[in-house]
């Protein structure tokens, strides 16, 4: 039970090990605090949708499961959107379009498909919580690095801004790609270069469209 929970935080960290949900990871991590907001919103949706899908797993017919999952997820995203709009205006402004886009975050659909549709409610909730915390931790780490180097602050508090000229590039899009690449390299290195096998189509193990994706790549010609 505990393993289910910690799995998402370290061994199968959705962002750094499975490489899912890359869009929000790159887009909103310009500051550490944004990572907290996005992480909590996504965790809420993840836990609720995992619980609902797990409860309905015997009712939803196999053929229409993906549309059904998407509808359930979209419902919870709408709830979170309304909550954020009502109680956390500033988060709503910083996350902007990425808040409704949680619907298409592959972490959530991926966990529904890989875990919640096959397991009882309690493990599914724990899995959702673990994955959510893992996602939040990765977002905050990345946000902190980019904020510290790019703006010289941390959680909005000035750290090095006075003494060292901040490298604005790090909070611009190229910095996002660069820091993300370095973090994944670090995660690979720390886990003993565990990724021996080539990322044919990266992080695809947990992605619901993995099969089609690799077919699309393979159908392209040689290799």
């Amino acid at each position: 039970m505990i393993k289910t929970f910690t799995n998402g935080i370290l061994r199968e960290n959705p962002t750094l090990r499975l490489v899912l949900g890359t869009c929000p990871t790159l887009a909103i991590t310009t500051a550490a605090l944004n990572g907290v907001g996005m992480g909590i919103a996504a965790t809420l949706v993840l836990v609720c949708s995992n619980a609902a899908i797990s409860l309905l797993r015997k009712v939803i017919p196999e053929q229409v499961r993906i549309p059904a999952y998407i509808t359930i997820i979209a419902g919870f995203v709408t709830v979170v959107q309304m909550l954020v709009k009502a109680y956390a205006q500033s988060i709503d402004e910083t996350l902007g379009i990425y808040l409704p886009l949680i619907v298409v975050n592959c972490i959530i659909l991926g966990r529904a498909e890989m875990f919640a549709s096959k397991n009882p409610v309690l493990p599914s909730v724990l899995d959702g919580l673990g994955m959510g915390i893992g996602f939040t931790a990765a977002l905050v780490t990345m946000g902190a690095i980019r904020e510290l180097i790019g703006a010289g602050t941390l959680f909005g508090i000035t750290v090095t801004a006075g003494s060292i000229e901040p490298m604005v590039l790090f909070i611009l899009p190229p910095g996002g790609f660069f820091v993300f690449g370095m973090l994944i390299a670090l995660a690979n290195k720390l886990s003993g270069g565990g990724n021996k096998k080539e990322f044919g189509c990266m992080g695809c193990a947990g992605c619901p469209s993995a099969k089609t994706c690799s077919e699309a790549n393979g159908g392209g010609g040689n290799e």
């Binding site: 490489v19 890359t22 869009c23 929000p24 790159l26 887009a27 993906i66 549309p67 998407i70 509808t71 979209a74 419902g75 995203v77 709408t78 959107q81 309304m82 379009i97 409704p100 886009l101 619907v103 298409v104 975050n105 592959c106 659909l109 590039l169 611009l172 899009p173 190229p174 910095g175 996002g176 790609f177 660069f178 993300f180 690449g181 370095m182 994944i184 390299a185 690979n188 290195k189 270069g193 990724n195 080539e198 990322f199 189509c201 990266m202 992080g203 695809c204 992605c207 619901p208 469209s209 089609t212 994706c213 077919e215 699309a216 790549n217 159908g219 392209g220 010609g221 290799e223």
Partner: protein, 193 residues
Amino acid sequence: MSNILAILVSAILSDNYVLAKFLGICPFLGVSKKLDSAVGMSVAVTFVMLIATAATWPIQMYLLNPNGLDYLQTIVFILVIASLVQLVETFLKKFIPPLHKALGIYLPLITTNCAVLGVAILNVEEYPDNFLAALVNSLGAGMGFLLAMVIFAGIRSKVERANVPDFLKGLPVTLVSAAITSLAFMGFQGMGG
């Protein structure tokens, strides 16, 4: 007219959906290994973006907004896009098999592509009173996606032959190349207003 042109140029270059707005990163990293699959994917994405905007913009303006149902936006949009993609796939399979053979494989991937939903949502937010501008923006977003994919597929084929340190192999080095590509696109900032 110049306004429409400005929207098109900025959607393709300075506000590139992939490299500046971070929408559609999954296919950008996942399907950019080969040039022909990159082109196929981008054409399919452009097509779906256009029809998605053509469908969701009127729904938002004439159905959701007048009835005070705009909070249903997320659910309605994703369902409309998912069923449209399914419909297009069935239609192509039945009536234009060669096109289905070329694009069919990419269509299921597009449902969960955040660029498509992102364009649909941004269009109703940014161009609530100009349907044409919304359509042009979708076209530009798709073309920008195509441009980024083609350039990146070329860069990746070179990187693949380079000798990179072990722990950087695969995704990390791909992301670093993406950073440099994105840096190049920043040069367009300020163009097209």
